[in-house]
Homo-oligomer: 209 residues x 2
């Protein structure tokens, strides 16, 4: 297998943390998004959507979309389980992973891509150019504040995001919190449950990738 | 089981089509989004995110997020398979389902929720109010046109969205195309592969839900 990766891309980090938690070592190739290498012909033959990450299997099959890559690795390398141990747990993990994506990760992405000078005319991932929308940057920041409040409540009820066990939903949430540095947002001092959880998940060796 | 549903909500329709393809009959309760019933205390006890659909299991467990509901039903009622028959197929189905969501469904939602008078101050699903952003409505329409072009190319290579077999990715794509009526967008007359595929998938009995 070979992973097309980029150190600073948060979706790529989701996969790297997942791989580290599985105890796997997958050779990777850096696609330099800083110089827009994802838009080159060569990379678009691997992923026509011009996004990282992408996983190329030994038979040449390509899997893109970080969640699809993680679910594939979960099936092929089931231990330790990171997506739930039975149908009901898997549903709860997927539910929370989606909530984090839709209400947290997407909010930060809106905030960052619509405000950073680097993303001028690149407000959406992928091959096509779209102008930044300043109001969308503001909306993203406001939505992210709501997301932190949701997580603070959730982590007051539950050790981890999707229940008592560490899962892919914790990975997505941790990556989202770290990604929020790009919009100068962080966990509040009045959010002790989030602080407790963040210290635990970011203290795991997998968080260093 | 009981499904909290709303006839006109496209994410709820994804689940209804999936249930029909499985040959299941799940009793449902209509949550009238037209009168904002999803924001009531009663419904928010079921789904704090104030979104439909939600599936309540016989033991009281609640699963929200349409994709999580469908994956749960796939595990409990594996025939006919709609999410792939082995790890590699499942990865490809999930990859295409995500591409359709991110580049198609999300684009229509941006276009509709930021332009329709009904969604004034409700530009994002969920409990919180956010003002509409007219530029985002325009961006959504432009992104949806790119999505149709992507699908036309894909369906020139492949019978269905994720490969040779009908899958959840076809359900998401069909629901997305129908949802696009809300932004007055549709498959072009110069898109024969999409026309062929749409006639096939929308001719299935499951499409009538």
């Amino acid at each position: 297998m070979q992973l097309y990766d980029f150190k600073m891309a948060p979706n790529a980090r989701r996969v790297r943390v997942f791989v580290a938690e599985k105890g796997l070592a997958i050779p990777s190739v850096e696609v330099d998004l800083g110089s827009r290498a994802q838009l080159n012909e060569d990379y678009r033959r691997i992923n026509p959507m011009a996004e990282v990450p992408a996983l190329v299997l030994d038979d040449g099959t390509i899997i893109t979309e970080s969640t699809a890559i993680c679910r594939y690795l979960e099936e092929v390398y089931p231990d330790p389980p990171l997506c739930g141990r039975n149908p009901l747990e898997r549903a709860q993990v997927m539910m929370w992973d989606r909530r984090v994506e839709q209400h947290g990760f997407a909010a930060v992405a809106e905030g960052f891509r619509n405000s950073s000078p680097f993303f001028k005319d690149r407000s959406v991932t992928g091959a096509a150019d779209f102008a930044q929308i300043p109001e969308l940057a503001e909306r993203g920041k406001a939505r992210f504040a709501n997301f932190l409040a949701l997580m603070e409540q959730r982590l007051g009820e539950s050790e981890h995001v999707a229940g008592e066990r560490y899962s892919i939903a914790d990975i997505t949430a941790m990556v989202t919190i770290d990604f929020a540095r790009t919009i100068r947002a962080k966990i509040g001092e009045d959010q002790p449950n989030l602080q407790r959880w963040y210290a635990a998940v970011s203290g795991r060796p997998s968080a260093q990738v």
